[in-house]
């Protein structure tokens, strides 16, 4: 046994798969210890906030300690961030129309562009072919730009409770900086928010956990049923075998996917908890394991050691447990891994159809995909809502499959390359 374990851990593929899987497990277990926020808590008002660090503006402005930093490119950066590419092209267009040759206009140099604009723009100048609306657009653009070039700061005022007037309470100069660590409210959202306004990362971690649990439960159920049926059917044979095979054939021909849909649908929304779904998946996917175990058992049952046990008068159960099971064990472990992997995928498929676990309590990977799909995240380009989910599913599946291939190579030396 120990020797087998040693071999297993020397197999490259197994180790890689195992590490990935363990990494995810650890993530799932450790993350909630540090970040205790409930995963389905809605924190964003609005949909699909992009990933980033969110700093409370009020706290930043009201921060007690402000630092003065003089950075060379601060002003340029400030300007650059306020002018979009489109606006730059518009400015260029106007300037060209006013007679300045295009080669002299460098739209990437914000300061130069703006000073050119400042010196040449005339609000009421009308060019042939320019509509009124366009002219007014340029006027608005000009107004919004006027603040950019100034080097003054901003004044903070609070309206007086009694008089309603604005009273100055402070000012912020362009060279004022705050240390983010000193700001009271900062929230890091590495994966932004989803369509409901929930923190995607926290949700994702919880979803991985739930999906893994569902996968595990379903996988164990499926493997267990498959094992029992396979053992009984393979060893006892005869009419028991025939009837079990009949049931198995039924399940094979009716795609398990279809069964899943039907059963899930008929259970109804209320009763569909995560565990129920896991049980349903487990109950419909045992077929493959049963068949494989049965084939193994059939080839084993005429071996000498089994005959010896029979002659010694051991009971059927005893024979199955001590003579046949150990040989099937390696196979069963691999089957378990594959069942877990496919169960997780099945759950994802179901959830996308809307037949997955209830949506109000826990997220699952499939559910997150479902929400992203329904709210069109993929078309809107909000990659953080679905891409990490897909990557997680792929990683889980990939790591499990790698582990399985690794185990396969250990148990079947002929497959080693």
């Amino acid at each position: 046994m120990r020797n087998t374990l040693r071999q297993v851990f020397r197999s490259g593929k197994f180790v890689v798969g195992f590490s990935i899987f363990m990494a995810m497990l650890l993530l799932v277990m450790i993350y909630p210890l540090f970040f205790k926020a409930p995963p389905l808590e809605i924190i964003g008002e609005g949909t699909f906030f992009p990933p980033g660090i969110y700093v409370s503006t009020l706290d930043a402005v009201n921060s007690e300690t402000t630092y003065t930093l003089h950075l060379d490119d601060a002003a340029a950066k400030r300007l650059a961030s306020r002018l979009s590419d489109e606006e730059r092209l518009d400015l260029q267009e106007w300037l060209v129309l006013s007679g300045i040759p295009e080669e002299e206009i460098d739209i990437s140099n914000t300061e130069e562009l703006l000073s050119l604009w400042k010196s040449n723009y005339e609000p009421n100048q009308r060019f042939p072919g320019m509509t009124n609306a366009r002219m007014r657009y340029f006027q608005r653009l000009d107004t919004s730009l006027s603040g950019l070039l100034s080097n003054e700061g901003v004044t903070i005022s609070i309206s007086n409770a009694e008089t309603g007037d604005l009273e100055e309470v402070g000012s912020v100069s362009p060279s004022d900086y705050v240390n983010v660590k000193r700001v009271a409210n900062v929230r890091v959202l590495p994966l932004g928010t989803d369509n409901f306004g929930r923190d995607v990362l926290t949700e994702l971690v919880k979803a991985i956990q739930v999906s893994l649990q569902i996968g595990l439960v379903a996988g164990v159920i499926a493997t267990f049923i498959g094992l029992i049926f396979g053992l009984v059917s393979g060893y006892i044979g005869g009419s028991t075998d025939d009837s079990i095979m009949f049931v198995t054939n039924l399940f094979t021909v009716i795609p398990s996917f279809v069964l899943l849909i039907l059963i899930s649908f008929s259970i109804g929304q209320e009763k569909r908890g995560a565990f129920t779904i896991a049980a349903v998946i487990g109950l419909t996917s045992w077929v493959w394991t049963a068949r494989a175990v049965r084939a193994q058992v059939i080839s084993l049952r005429n071996r000498d050691h089994v005959n010896l046990s029979k002659l010694s008068g051991h009971s059927i159960v005893h024979i199955i447990l001590t003579d046949i099971l150990p040989y099937v064990a390696s196979y069963v472990i691999m089957a378990l891994i594959l069942q877990i992997s496919s169960a997780i995928l099945m759950e994802a498929n179901l959830s996308i159809l809307g037949l997955g676990p209830r949506t109000t309590e826990v997220p699952t990977l499939g559910l997150m995909m479902n929400w992203a799909m329904i709210y069109q995240a993929h078309i809107l380009g909000k990659w953080w809502a679905y891409f990490p989910v897909i990557v997680s599913i792929a990683l889980i599946s990939f790591s499990l499959n790698l582990m399985n291939t690794g185990l396969d190579q250990v148990f079947n030396p002929t497959l080693r390359d």
Binding site: L262, A394, L402
Partner: protein, 319 residues
Amino acid sequence: MVTTIFAFILNFILPRLMPGDPVAAIVARYAQGMSNATGVQAIYEQYTELFGTNKPMIEQFFIYVRNVFRGDFGFSFSQYPRTVADVLQSSVWWTVCLQFPAIIVGWIIGNTLGALAAYLKKGFDKLLMPVSIFLSCLPAFGMAVVLLVIFAVNREWFPTSGGYGFDMVPNLSWKFLWSVIVHYQLPFWSIVLIAIGGQAIGMRSMAIYELNADYVKYSRFLGIRDRKIVGYVFRNAMLPQITGLALSIGTMVGGALVAEIIFSYPGLGSTILTAVMGGDYPLISATTLIVTIMVLLANFAIEIVYGLIDPRIKAAQAD
């Protein structure tokens, strides 16, 4: 045969076990704004009569069977007054024309690549293996989303949804057909790529196994060219792959249905989605039945093909 009957029964019973009264939902929709309670009740009774939900289950079952044989699947609850048959008719063909060619193409390409990897070894093999393992682990909808984002959203080479342009009405013009073909690409390729991943790995193992078989050595000893031997090997390795295809077609179709949903492709996938969201059990029942029948037919076809290809079976039958 028995299986079909069993599938039938399951298809009927399971959706109806769902709690809640769908008729009430429909009535509520139609009776909006009506305050006359008796009036609402009358409508309710009328619809119940129409849908037959007031009769005992057994009777409903027989009516169902009789109707199915007539091609009448009843009315769709969520898309009333369309009949289920009508809804199905428009979606079935989209699905069949998309999925079956895709699965077959994927199978062929995947097996060829797997066989090549086993034969050429070294570089090609080392490249193909990780790629196929990864591809085979990606869920069907995952591939669909990835392709969608890369090719439809970012590059805008392909449309993001639908079976054909929104502004078009199905007709036989070139413009329409072209639009169909363009819309066909992404869903098609997502299914194909996933199929390739799975098949390549299997075929590679089979081919490696066969390439190391004794008869390869022996044939070499008798002076037979390598090329011919390789031909033997691949033909022998393919046989179990065909059987494998039959076994996995159920899951592949399942995954492909979900992929359809991602693209809002007007096939059975989207039909199931709308049916589920609308609590429409005649539609679900009928759709799953159709899917089951499709898979059964596919299995059957594959068995026939296998019998034709494996020379041993022909010989056994000839005796």
